[in-house]
Assembly symmetry: C2
Homo-oligomer: 230 residues x 2
DNA sequence: GAGTGGTCTAGACCACCTG
DNA sequence: AGGTGGTCTAGACCACTCG
């Protein structure tokens, strides 16, 4: 029930900066305990949809879960907030391959045995290539993945819509390296230019199911932005 | 009360991987409602001290809030988990200066007027310099800060112990750049080597009070690690 | 089947903010 | 002073895990 309320609140079109109905009003309106309302609102806070102010009320966040350009969220999702023209070029459609011998993350036996769906994409902002991403997905529980094409060129959206898989968290290792010839070419940089290199592991709503990415970013124009708590 | 329980649970020395007493046991033991116990445990989950497993119990996290080397937490705090010898060299003790004209973050009027406490530190892992950090702190509500020296060379610990200020969150912009001569010298790299450059703003438990950092990382040896949710 | 965490109801008092 | 969110009590039923 508190999941429902959560979605209704934001689907119910509140403007940025609006004050939400108070917890008492919400509980009365939905015939629900205040504890339940609080639980729903707490979720919204955690996901940065709203802020709470003691004695004042709850305010709809001005930037709903914007995490900044090139953050861990899908590229298009994030970059739009900054009003950029964004394009994703699929350089290599998903194909089934075997895992590299020295894969950058330890894999479970099940993952190794299943083989690896590989794809390669280039992300551009305002026509300029800014991010080259190699993605590796264990071929587990994804029937017909190779037959479909990506929904809106978005991997996350495809997983969500077709397989009901949601991205829950990310671990990443970030380094600054000198671009090798091939990377430099793709990002339209000169060889040896400094680029960000990131290894990522995405945790999903399916227990034990992870996605892996290796990505290269040209940060001369746009920085990688994070924000996190605690 | 739930803050108290929170601390007692971990101060009460549970081993990594231990099962905590169940929520019912905890509530009985502390003469407290299960709702209150749950609130305390929820905090612990948020801070990655424990994991919960439905039907099984709550487990003490194997790596208590380890966020990886060079993560947003204080350097020493994080690096110790990786069993490295860690040293902080204070290159410039805290001094009061005026803000740079083109500061990397927009400042409030109050911040500008108060002036800026500046310090400069070099972090080393196993003798090798890995991170050069310039810190800028608005000189607001920090009496005698310049007179004391840092507690354990840790800025965060100093703020916590002396002024009861806790770090709550971080926003950061990350870029890969070529090291200029001075940076390269400090990090013992050759000029032009790729280094990570990060602008950070730390939010604190004091509303409206932020810390600012600009830092340069040599990532040839150690990567910057993150992990975050949602 | 017994125990666990997940969710919910129906109240209560408090500190805080704003008019 | 009145309303807000923060915290707490005292129950209840459920889905899940495990022996």
């Amino acid at each position: 029930m508190h999941q429902l309320l959560k979605k209704q609140i934001l689907a119910g079109e509140f403007q940025e900066g609006d004050l939400l109905p108070s917890e008492n009003e919400l509980s009365a309106a939905h015939n629900i305990t205040r504890a339940t309302v609080r639980q729903a609102l707490e979720e919204l806070v955690k996901e940065k949809y709203i802020y709470k102010h003691k004695g004042r009320g709850s305010v709809v966040s001005s930037q709903r879960k914007t995490l900044g350009l090139l953050s861990f969220r899908g590229f298009s999702e994030v970059a739009e907030a900054a009003h950029l023209t964004v394009k994703t070029v699929v350089l290599q459609k998903p194909v089934l391959v075997s895992w590299e011998d020295d894969f950058f993350y330890p894999l479970s036996k099940a993952e190794k045995a299943a083989g690896c769906i590989f794809l390669e994409r280039l992300r551009c902002a305002d026509q300029d290539p800014v991010m080259l991403e190699y993605t590796y997905i264990p071929n587990i529980g994804l029937p017909d993945f190779l037959q479909h094409s990506l929904v809106h060129d978005s991997l996350f959206e495809t997983l969500h819509v077709q397989y009901d898989i949601e991205i829950m968290n990310v671990e990443q290792d970030i380094r600054a390296i000198a671009a090798v010839a091939e990377t430099a070419r793709q990002l339209k940089l000169s060889e040896g230019s400094p680029v960000l290199h990131i290894y990522r592991r995405y945790g999903t709503s399916r227990k034990g199911f992870y996605l892996y990415s290796s990505l290269f970013c040209n940060t001369t124009q746009y920085a990688l932005s994070n924000s996190f708590d605690s």
